[in-house]
Amino acid sequence: MKALINQPDQVVTEALQGMVMAAPDLIQLHENPHYVLRADAPKTGKVALVSGGGSGHEPMHAGFVGRGMLDAACPGAIFTSPTPDQIQAASAAVNGGQGILHIVKNYTGDVLNFQMAAELLQNDGIEIHSVVIDDDVAVKDSLYTAGRRGVGATVLAEKICGAAAEAGANLNAITALCTSINDSARSMGLALSPCTNPETGQPSFTLGENEIEYGIGIHGEPGRQRIPWQPADNLTEKLMLPIIEDLPFKRGDEVLLFINGLGATPLLELNIVYRAAEKLASQHGLKVSRRLVGAYMTSLDMAGVSITLLRLDESMRTYWDAPVCTPALRWGC
């Protein structure tokens, strides 16, 4: 497979090493088990935030470790959730004595492994809360299924809750905030190309010249539907309407609009989507007051985009604006 890699089974380790070498003032790496933690961890007296998941979504999550966001990130193999002992070790390493929040994306693997880790940590007397993020409206929800996937809202929850933790909020308050972010956020994505897992060298699916996977996740799993290519404004509408209708977002709502590139889509195109999305939001009476545009939660080399809308309240807005000092998201410091 033609990628900038060495041994396929060393991809994750080498990328983590490179990432930490490139931001030594912000983050450090522990190997075996692998986790990335703040350069100044543990922060005594502060609630610690830990997240993680499969690799292949860079900069998420390791790129979000640092002051004002995560205390630690646990990267699994490509598209494979981390293991309980890894999560346990990372959590223990950043434990500041005020409890730990696990921010978990709703995939069976992530949920089970974080759950096992939480049990191990609780046995050690560490207070653990978990919030499961499930914002993807492409997935039909039901009591009898695994439910919706966690996608773009994860990034927003990590930023906002990270600022709350930095400001000294306690574990209950941060857990409630995280739950409320998840309840107030909805996302949907589409892919113009598959991704290729460097560990296996196989493309996740094949698409015709003119085909799009609509309702895509971030692990190369096929979407809900295959549709023909349409102009960006139409495709944006096909993502925005299900999002707006699902919560539902209502006229007068203040929102954060997040346009996320899936890896191989140029910023040029993301900006065209942003333009269409903000116009649609305005047409629905939504006031976009905060924005994020870029490749923050990717699917390796997949071309495509996801859109997330978060209904902001004042505390979310304030925490969003607070300083964040991580390799991938940085302002105010």
């Binding site: 499969g54 193999a77 494979t80 299924t145 695994a146 560990e199 799993e221 809900r224």
Partner: protein
């Protein structure tokens, strides 16, 4: 007839070989309705299991099962790591201090493992998961059927996943598009049970 630790080692060694040789096939099944890593996940986990078994050969079925379960949990990740891991951990709890497991005890071990998977994963038969292969096979063994029948049941259960819409795991995101594809976990469960059937009791 009973399964001493040597027979059970045969089981696990065979599983390691099978997951290695079916790596691409399991990945391809998973790519169709999931994220394409089920073969890689199991191959990675069982390779580590073999390494640990060679370094510290266990002396009882229980310690073997515990080692397999712990190793899968700490090296596989994903959904299948905790699920298969719990399967072996729970099986080990039933095995107790016994040096060998007679057929009935082995069936109780497997049944406990199945319960462990279901407690964690909350899947029922018909949800298009590994349960669809494991459940009928282990039920057969509990009812004293022989291994050949059990593996036959597993295969039928796996094939029965093909027309299903998934309600659990990653395939559930696809809705109707999951129809027409066999579940990768049900397929790996068949391989696992085939290996058990191939292990020689003493």
């Amino acid at each position: 007839m009973a399964y001493a630790v040597a027979s059970l080692m045969q089981w696990i060694t065979c599983a390691e070989e099978q997951f290695q040789s079916h790596l691409a096939e399991l990945n391809a099944l998973d790519a169709a309705i999931g994220d394409g890593d089920h073969g890689s996940n199991l191959a990675r986990g069982f390779a580590k299991v073999r390494e640990k078994l060679q370094a510290n050969p266990p002396e009882t079925p229980a310690s073997l099962f515990k080692l397999v379960g712990m190793t899968l949990i700490s090296t596989v990740g994903g959904a299948s790591g905790p699920l298969y891991g719990s399967f072996f951990l729970e099986a080990g709890k039933i095995a107790g201090e016994q040096k060998e497991l007679d057929n009935a005890t082995l069936a109780r071990c497997l049944q406990a493992g199945l319960v462990g998977i279901q407690r964690l994963g909350k899947a029922e038969a018909g949800d298009k998961t590994m349960i669809d292969a494991l459940e009928p096979a282990i039920r057969a063994l509990t009812n004293e059927a022989d291994m050949g029948v059990a593996t036959q049941k597993a295969r039928e259960g796996r094939d029965a996943t093909i027309p299903l819409i998934a309600r659990k795991g990653r395939a559930s995101y696809l809705g109707e598009r999951a129809i027409g594809h066999a579940d990768p976990g049900a397929t790996s469960a068949c391989l696992l049970l085939n290996c058990l059937a191939g292990a020689c009791p003493t």
